[in-house]
């Protein structure tokens, strides 16, 4: 299928194909090297990184739900300096775009973390996480108001010159408004959706299952909500959209692109099939060939009648 062009662009970031891995679901990529040829993945977004090390939340952090799962990891990571010193030298060797998901608890900490990652020449972009539902301070708090989102993006934009993707929270009344706000502050792209805030209760123990009570819902269960939001944001902003939320196969990925996504992220599916990413890449190529298309970019927003 050499006649099929899978390349897609997020701002100035050129991806060999539209399939990336979602932060926190693919480790640093290296954990999956036994299962997939990492160089065949469009991009790897490594786990949420903060300025200071974080222990994350207490166990239990996970609950299985109907076609989905809840997690409340809470951004456990060893901090940006550890990443720069110990992880970066390894991941930079991976022959694909490696992005870092950046989180913080104030515009300043977000910006400082981004500034340090900007110095890493082989990290062409960051994904700004203003939507983590599992940390008290910061995280989702910024992502659920236009002002909060704008304040973080403004600070990071001033500190980070490369491609800036802002990951949006679905736990809002109008995700289109949030998307417009971050676009106005100079974000190069938005990615959506982060997890839906949910909860699981153990009926026998009569207590919440997760250590902090609530957690973030991911998996096929949330796909209809994610598709709807990508659809709405596509009509609201001009910057590219990275779509995610319950993608399990190539058909799901195609649906997100038809709704308006320029690229997609595969998250929870990596837990069920560690080799799913490359299968999705191949499946998208098959779809394009079957439909007589030559470029994956023809799919972007194609389900919108008015465009």
């Amino acid at each position: 299928m050499e006649n099929i062009d899978l390349g897609t662009n997020i701002g100035s970031l050129a991806l060999k194909n539209p399939v990336m891995t979602a932060s926190g679901t693919f480790g640093y990529g290296l954990e999956f090297a036994d299962f997939v040829d990492l160089s065949r993945i469009g991009g790897i977004i490594v786990k949420g990184t903060t300025l200071e090390p974080r222990q994350g939340n207490a166990y239990p952090r996970m609950a299985e739900t109907a076609q989905g799962m809840l997690n409340c990891v809470g951004l456990q990571n060893k901090g940006v300096d550890y990443f720069c010193e110990h992880i970066y030298p390894e991941v930079r060797k991976i022959d694909t775009a490696v992005l870092v998901n950046v989180s913080g608890n104030s515009p300043e900490t977000y910006a400082e973390c981004a500034r340090r990652i900007a110095e890493l020449e082989d990290i062409p972009a960051i994904e700004l996480n203003i939507s983590c539902p599992n940390v008290k301070q910061g995280g989702m708090a910024f992502g659920v108001t236009c002002e909060g989102a704008a304040s973080v993006v403004k600070a990071v934009r001033a500190a980070y010159p490369k491609t800036l993707i802002v990951k949006l929270s679905p736990n809002v009344t109008s995700i289109a408004d949030i998307a417009r706000a971050v676009e106005a502050e100079g974000a190069d792209a938005v990615s959506l959706i982060n997890t839906l805030m949910g909860m699981a209760i153990d009926a026998e123990k009569r207590r919440p299952i997760l250590s902090i009570g609530t957690g973030g819902l991911s998996g096929p269960a949330v796909k209809p909500v994610a598709l709807r939001m990508v659809w709405q944001v596509y009509d609201a902003v001009k910057i590219p959209i990275v779509g995610l939320g319950g993608i399990m196969n190539a058909t799901d990925a195609v649906e997100f692109m038809l709704a308006g996504a320029t690229a997609v992220e595969i998250g929870t599916a990596n837990f069920i099939d560690p080799a799913v990413t490359v299968k999705v890449v191949e499946g998208i190529a098959d779809y394009l060939q079957r439909h007589g298309m030559t470029s994956v970019r023809e799919l972007i927003g194609a389900a919108h009648l008015d465009r």
């Binding site: 480790g27 786990k47 166990y59 996970m62």
Partner: protein, 263 residues
């Protein structure tokens, strides 16, 4: 040890038997090629097909590896929808697994080391493979197996073929009455004879065993069974709070030297 190459394998159910009501032994084989290297204490992630209420894979410890028969044994306790679906597999069915995962028990460097393998309930499963590996290394293991009552004891004859077996049951229906930590055997277990303890089972039991080992100054490894999703150290869901902070049981474990645990 987690540097061992991992595989996604489609194995075939050669035999499925019910050692006890509620438990099934899956004897899986790879018709194509030899099974990969797997260490005692490691586990596999089993994909559960055809169960609408089951979304994630199920982590299951390696019960035994029969190299001659090219068989991987999984002892499954059918407690939820996922494990019940596995218990209903037919011979010839294909089971998709990711293996091997995690680290494993520390194996002996000299034949003079003596291993006491203490298990409870279905937690005895990985001790069978561990015992076999010890025997093949010239260390005949001693098993101390606990259960609620006689009909909850699993694979006893197999354990007896590998080493000395001591039993406790809560109702006294077999072996000594009480918990494994109360067995008279412990009187002869001390540091002078290089005893090492490996334990797997309900957390309260493992905590009690590790305390006993600490009192006696014996090295002790415990195999944890935290709730997990990916099994690969990616999702950070199965963490245990250790002296080194939160670490993934699926990757740094499931076997831990109890000195690292905050027990």
């Amino acid at each position: 040890m987690d540097k061992m190459k991992k595989y996604i394998l489609d194995l075939v159910v050669r035999h499925i038997t019910q050692p006890r009501p509620g438990y099934v032994l899956l004897q899986l084989t790879d018709p194509e090629r030899p099974l990969p290297a797997m260490l005692p204490g490691q586990f596999v992630e089993v994909r559960v097909d055809g169960s609408p209420t089951t979304f994630l894979r199920r982590p299951i410890s390696i019960n035994f590896v029969d190299r001659e028969a090219n068989e991987l044994w999984l002892l499954v306790h059918a407690v939820g929808d996922g494990t019940r679906a596995l218990a209903q597999l037919q011979e010839g069915a294909v089971v998709n697994i990711v293996a091997p995962l995690g680290n494993g028990f520390t194996l002996p460097t000299t034949t003079s080391e003596r291993y006491l393998l203490v298990g409870g309930g279905v937690g005895t499963a990985p001790l069978l493979y561990m015992g076999q590996e010890l025997l093949s290394r010239g260390c005949r293991p001693v098993f101390l197996l606990g259960a609620r009552s006689a009909q909850d004891l699993l694979q006893l004859e197999l354990f007896r073929a590998i080493g000395d077996v001591y039993v406790t049951t809560e109702d006294g229906s077999e072996g000594e009455r009480g918990f494994v930590t109360q067995h008279s055997l412990w009187a002869d277990v001390d540091a002078t004879q290089q005893w090492r303890i490996c334990t797997c089972g309900p957390k309260p039991m493992m905590v009690a065993v590790s305390r006993l080992a600490r009192e006696k100054g014996l090295p002790c490894e415990a195999s944890l069974e935290n709730l997990m999703a990916c099994g690969l150290g990616a999702c950070l869901c199965c963490v245990e709070d250790t002296t080194e902070g939160h670490v993934c049981v699926c990757k740094e474990g499931p076997v831990f030297n109890v000195e690292k645990l905050k027990w």
